[in-house]
Symmetry: C2
Amino acid sequence: MSEREPTVAEIGEFGLIDRIRTICGGDTSPDLLLSIGDDTAVVRLDDHRAMVATCDIQVEDIHFQWNTITPYQLGRRSMAVNLSDIASMGATPLYALTSLAVPPSLPAAHFDKMFAGMNDEVRQFGALVVGGNLARSNERLVVDVFMWGMVDPAHMLTRTGAQAGDVVYVTGALGSSRAGLDVLMRYGPSCSDEYAEVVRAHLEPRPRVREGRTIAQSGLATTMIDVSDGLAADIGHICDSSQVGVEIDESQLPFDAVLFKIARNAERDLREYTLYGGEDYELLFTVRSTDANAMERLAQENGFALRGIGRVVADREGRTLIDPQGTRHALDPKGWDHFRVV
Amino acid sequence: MSEREPTVAEIGEFGLIDRIRTICGGDTSPDLLLSIGDDTAVVRLDDHRAMVATCDIQVEDIHFQWNTITPYQLGRRSMAVNLSDIASMGATPLYALTSLAVPPSLPAAHFDKMFAGMNDEVRQFGALVVGGNLARSNERLVVDVFMWGMVDPAHMLTRTGAQAGDVVYVTGALGSSRAGLDVLMRYGPSCSDEYAEVVRAHLEPRPRVREGRTIAQSGLATTMIDVSDGLAADIGHICDSSQVGVEIDESQLPFDAVLFKIARNAERDLREYTLYGGEDYELLFTVRSTDANAMERLAQENGFALRGIGRVVADREGRTLIDPQGTRHALDPKGWDHFRVV
């Protein structure tokens, strides 16, 4: 070969998804409401039901390390990340399949505790582990989960539908998970109590299943997504799909005060957590400004946190972060290194 | 710890499945028709529809090796093994999600060809790849597929329902896949033409989707399974679930004549292929003896192969292989090493 072929790393995740869409797209079914490139696939079953399906893989030494997570926590986490995808559509999770590649030397007690974690995590939302597959792996444990649930297509929320003027909300603190990971890397799992909450946010994320359903069924939201890639990237997904811009008000971002200390110790900018951290599994959604009061009342009545962090603007106005001094920055999804003052 | 804890290898696949059933079973939904321990999970959607869901993982250096399979073949194979599970229920495959852990160095062209194989494999049966997940792996490629389809619960076939007197049928040759693997290991992919068919059987298995649906919809079959673990193990699954015994007539087993030569060269007993080979992805099913003629006519009309290979007997009569000399052997699912004359 005269020229070296590009690798998947050079194409990047979103480039690869585009390639899959080109190869596997084409003629589809009229029942297929959402497909390649979204967080979940959605298939209409009848007038009032659509099936929402998703999967998420956890690979040892990539997504988790045994020196910082227990088997029980890994089980919970492997389900939580999928529950969050289901929650982001406003759907009700129902069933999960587990597909595992297991090194033969894994203690059976670890295996049991992992499944106990999986079962506890899904059962709190009325869902069930109903099957799967067991295979052998040479060295590293692979835990893949396939989960599906149901939603009324009339109430389903996607990334599409935000309009200029909508208020942007988030259901809880941002950046804790990434900060918790830094703490785990630095101090290990038996770290100081002051870090317990951010470590828990990383190891045992709490998917916003009930909140997602409440928000969707209210009919007040226009789009919704879960914060898995980080606020900047995930609001970017809404902007891409809805063809809108956004202004995020940095002074309104909710985060745990201990992040200041963790960021200083890790020699990071706080925004590496709050804007680019990812794996927060909070819900990020938009609401017409005329419905904002009703949404805030709904959250209060249902006892969940809500913070307005910005507003949707026209596509041509771009994506902006307004810092606490009022300075405007381009909100680049790629991370702090690419963060530019404009 | 005073005693060493057992590993997953020591517990074994079926022991692990029992543990999962204990941990995750308990209260379930009345809509859950099949769950942990079967080839697929089945959930009733309404009076005439049930969703059939399955998954199957392929790990590099465990389930495939790049020196014997092309990316396109791997894509086809990863879908075929799932299509076969759907086929074994008599269901129609509809949608697949792909969950991949990809080493960053994988050529993007390989990635494209793999998805082209996936797409070609599912589209021939009218199914679609509708999403999934991409993650990074350190070294080895992991290709996990989740697939679901629909079946009328009235026509669904499971491992339960065989009765003494039923005829045991199989839809095609046994042992080719395992023999093809031996050929690949010995000669590599550019082997002699005489082995082309068994190599193809290993690399590009043809799931019996249309046959499965035809058999199920006829109402003539009492149980069905696909041959993935090997004839001895898979007929054993039917016996376990139906609480019956079986007599397999070795002289009736269909297999490619080239297996004699491959077995001799590999210094194996032929039964290591025909009885214990696995990954044949033919359908194995039972039919009341009074319906056997009708089933054979149906196969002829629909142009698919069918071979009666034995009959179901009472549970207390056990599981027997009758060799071509008429000698009776215990049909042990664990393989030739455990094969005993009784």
